[in-house]
């Protein structure tokens, strides 16, 4: 914008509407009216997130729509559940498209693997910390393709070489800086040009980035501080009823007896729906639905898992973990070095089942009609949801529409479609749209949990305390075997050992294996940080035990093992320095350290923790050093 003469009437802009002026050419008016950093927020500012499927004359690819008024809509292939990707993906697109973040609105993508598959995961799944890694190149290319077309359209109108034109902030200017077109004015012409191949367009040199690498304001904040943000649970569909659901308290059980009359006697209750494994009460509002569900006094047939107990599950894991498993890593000769070690340390770590406990409880709204099925939900897997609903209803895929939403937390819980399946089964028996809401009790009781892991580790130290042998056996349920069967090979679950098989340290003799143990009656699923969330805790805790046995400082001990790993050493050194590692602390305080490599990033953390006389723990400070790199 600095190169433009703002007093000069912009060619072609005279006919554009005020809105186009603000949207497409914010450099002319936007900054003058609003100030670059004093965006008016709250009700005065339109939401930048929309569920509406936007159509526009200029749609050069699946990610960008620009209308004649200059409104730029960016379609978000991955979902926003707090991780900030709606802003980050918008930055990737906007960087190359040459628009400001203030100029765009964001649309939830429809379910479509062909258009919106995550290139790493190969379908439209938001998970495994892949969004930016997967879309780093494709979204920049999409932005560059659109910008190339808009510049070409302007150059054609001016009859000049496109290479002499400049696109900035939603406006194309000629070489002299005296002629301008807002993007909106170019959409018709740009739409008629042949679309270049994504890999043929020139991407910006990272040194020219104006958005990527900046601390951009999130685009979803203003609607989340004044109640406007629409999560799946907030959808309002005309004629919609609300249903409370009770699923068998024991997995695999079935409803045996239901007092329908009592439920129907509650004011506002319309219908009682039974499915194989659940009962739902359909009402005007959740208050009535819950009251009706209680009145229904459901009796259950607990089924085959009636007597499963935690003690049985732990015993099963303990036994199974005594046998060798599928080998994930084998370097050197562990048996020999362990036998000859000056000191040997053994440990068992047990990690409990964990529920995801998203703040937004499970919910899904469905309207099943003769020839259509509409679903409103916040899901990490819209195409899996669509396929499941298609199968249940017998409708073809294209008759099942998934309207995605902001997610009130995902953590992997919304990689699962069990809640959507329950809701579709209920909706198939209801004449109107129905929003099925799980109570918090249902949400916790019918989560699909992070597995109970049972880890056995041994380390052998030489006379200097250096770990010359390291063994780690992970035992537990395989999520991969259920969720992505083709990737479960030779008994090895790559996720279950992620963070264990390739610790960042130089360990010349290392043996890591995996034993699959499926606990009866407890469904398991990916849980926030998946494999590494369990393994990093175990590996780093054990590394501390080993350093302690060697009577060495845990940071110095780790550093000595990171000589070949400069990025891991870098984050450790930085975190330790910033945390003041080694400096005096008040009585009762202590510091702990961890290093990890997971999902392409190196992270080191130092926690300063106080243990009070009564044993209670207070975390005072955590210093975190991250090297996520730049591809």
């Amino acid at each position: 914008m600095d190169t433009l003469n703002l007093n000069e009437p912009a060619s072609g802009v005279a006919t554009t509407s005020r809105r186009a002026f603000l949207q497409g050419g914010s450099l002319f008016l936007g900054f003058a009216l609003l100030g670059a950093n004093s965006k008016a927020v709250f009700a005065a500012t339109a939401s930048q997130v929309t569920g509406e499927e936007i159509k526009a004359p200029f749609e050069p690819n699946a990610f960008i729509r620009i209308d004649p008024k200059g409104m730029v809509t960016l379609v978000m292939p991955m979902v926003e559940m707090g991780q900030g990707v709606y802003t980050a993906m918008a930055m990737l697109l906007a960087e190359e498209l040459e628009v400001d973040l203030e100029q765009v609105q964001l649309q939830h993508a429809p379910a479509n693997d062909a258009l919106y598959a995550n290139p790493i995961l190969q379908n439209q799944t938001t998970g495994a910390s892949t969004t930016i890694r997967a879309f780093w190149t494709p979204l920049r290319q999409a932005g560059a393709v659109a910008r190339t077309l808009l510049v070409a359209a302007a150059a054609k109108k001016w009859d000049v070489d496109p290479a002499t034109c400049l696109a900035r902030k939603g406006v194309v200017s000629d070489a002299s800086g005296s002629l301008h077109f807002g993007y909106g004015e170019l959409v018709e012409a740009a739409a008629n040009l042949p679309v270049p191949a994504a890999n043929s367009v020139k991407l910006k040199d990272p040194k020219d980035f104006t958005l990527i690498g900046t601390r951009a304001k999130r685009l979803d904040t203003s609607i989340k501080v004044d109640g406007r943000a629409a999560f799946g649970i907030d959808v309002k569909v005309p004629g919609m009823k609300i249903a409370a659901i009770a699923i068998s308290p024991v997995f695999g059980g079935k409803p045996k007896a239901v007092d329908e009359a009592a439920a129907l006697g509650v004011k506002g209750v319309h219908q009682v729906v039974k499915t194989d494994e659940a009962v739902a009460v359909v009402a005007d509002h959740m208050g009535a639905a819950k009251k009706g569900l209680e009145a229904a006094a459901i009796q259950w047939d607990d089924g085959p898992n009636a007597t499963v107990s935690s003690a049985d599950i732990i015993k099963q894991l303990d036994e199974a973990s005594k046998q060798p498993g599928a080998v994930a890593r084998k370097d050197g000769d562990v048996e020999k070095t362990l036998a000859g070690a000056a000191q040997r340390i053994d440990a068992i770590y047990q990690l409990p089942f964990l529920a995801h406990a998203t703040m937004e409880p499970m919910n899904c709204t469905v309207h099943v009609q003769k020839d259509s099925c509409d679903i409103w939900v916040g899901t990490q897997v819209p195409t899996l949801a669509q396929a499941a609903a298609s199968k249940l209803t017998g409708l073809p895929l294209d008759k099942v529409k998934v309207n995605n939403h902001l997610l009130g937390g995902g953590f992997g819980r919304r990689l699962e479609i069990d809640g959507i399946v329950h809701a579709v089964k209920v909706a198939m028996q209801v004449d109107s749209p129905v929003k099925v809401i799980w109570s918090r009790e249902e949400d916790i009781q019918h989560d699909m949990y992070r597995p109970y892991y049972y880890d056995r580790l041994s380390a052998g130290l030489d006379a200097d305390g250096k770990p010359v042998a390291w063994t780690h056996r992970v035992s537990g349920s395989s999520i991969v075997a259920r969720y992505i069967p083709p990737l479960f090979k030779d008994g090895l679950d790559f996720d279950a050992v992620d963070g264990a098989a390739q610790p960042p340290y130089a360990l010349p003799n290392i043996h890591v294996d995996y034993v699959r143990v499926e606990p009866a009656g407890v469904p398991t699923a990916f849980w926030r940080g998946v494999g590494p969330t369990h393994n990093i805790f175990v590996v780093e805790s054990f590394m501390d035990e080993v350093a302690h046995a060697a009577k060495q400082d845990p940071v110095a001990y780790r550093k000595a093992l990171l000589g070949d790993n400069p990025r891991a050493l870098g984050v450790l050194t930085l975190a330790a320095e910033k945390a003041g590692w080694g400096t005096p602390m008040p009585e009762g305080h202590g510091r702990g350290v961890s290093v990890q490599f997971a999902f392409g990033s190196y992270v080191s953390q130092v926690a300063e923790v106080e243990v009070a006389a009564d044993g209670s723990v207070k975390v005072h400070r955590i210093v975190c050093a991250v090297d996520c790199g730049l591809q």
């Binding site: 927020v41 709250f42 009700a43 926003e80 559940m81 707090g82 991780q83 900030g84 304001k217 999130r218 979803d220 904040t221 203003s222 609607i223 989340k224 501080v225 004044d226 109640g227 406007r228 943000a229 629409a230 999560f231 649970i233 907030d234 309002k236 609300i242 509650v266 004011k267 506002g268 005007d284 509002h285 959740m286 208050g287 009535a288 819950k290 009251k291 406990a357 998203t358 703040m359 937004e360 409880p361 902001l406 997610l407 009130g408 937390g409 995902g410 953590f411 809401i437 109570s439 918090r440």
Partner: protein, 151 residues
């Protein structure tokens, strides 16, 4: 039965059982979905509204207990000086992640600032302890409350 309640300055008539929680009246009957359902047991704070200025968990507040009291929700809290200052601070400091709990956080913080314009850390801990954030935005919430208190 019929109940008349005053929400954000407007009277609404609703016909629901006396023991219906205010939360569901707001969300399902009146379509005011800014107030969130989190637990239904006053354990998470997502459903916090003000009743005569006092932070109240709407999920356990029955409709027949409200009477003539004034209910304020997240949709209107920005019209108060405290709510407005908090929302601005929330934006400035980028408090939000998934955002689902934040309506309740802002409402609890607004009640705190109304009662205690210059809260100490202990005041903040006391007022905000009942509001759970699964993303873990607590540090920024504390900083934003302090910033709003200075506004």
């Amino acid at each position: 039965m019929a109940h008349s309640i005053k929400i954000n300055g407007t009277a609404h008539n609703v016909d629901v059982d006396d023991d219906t929680p205010l939360l569901w009246v707001l969300r399902d009957v009146l379509g005011m979905t800014g107030t969130k359902f989190g637990c239904g047991a006053a354990l998470c704070g997502a459903c916090t509204v003000h009743i005569d200025g006092v932070a109240t968990r709407s999920c356990v507040t029955t409709i027949d207990s409200i009477g003539d009291s004034a209910v304020t929700t997240i949709e209107a809290i920005g019209e108060t000086p405290q709510g407005n200052a908090l929302q601005k601070a929330w934006l400035d400091l980028e408090v939000v992640q998934c955002g689902y709990c934040q309506s309740g956080q802002v409402m609890s913080a607004a009640a705190l600032l109304t009662a205690t314009p210059k809260p100490t850390d202990a005041d903040i801990d006391g007022a905000m302890a009942g509001n759970v954030c699964r993303c873990g935005t607590y540090q920024r919430i504390r900083a934003a409350i302090k910033q709003a208190a200075e506004a």
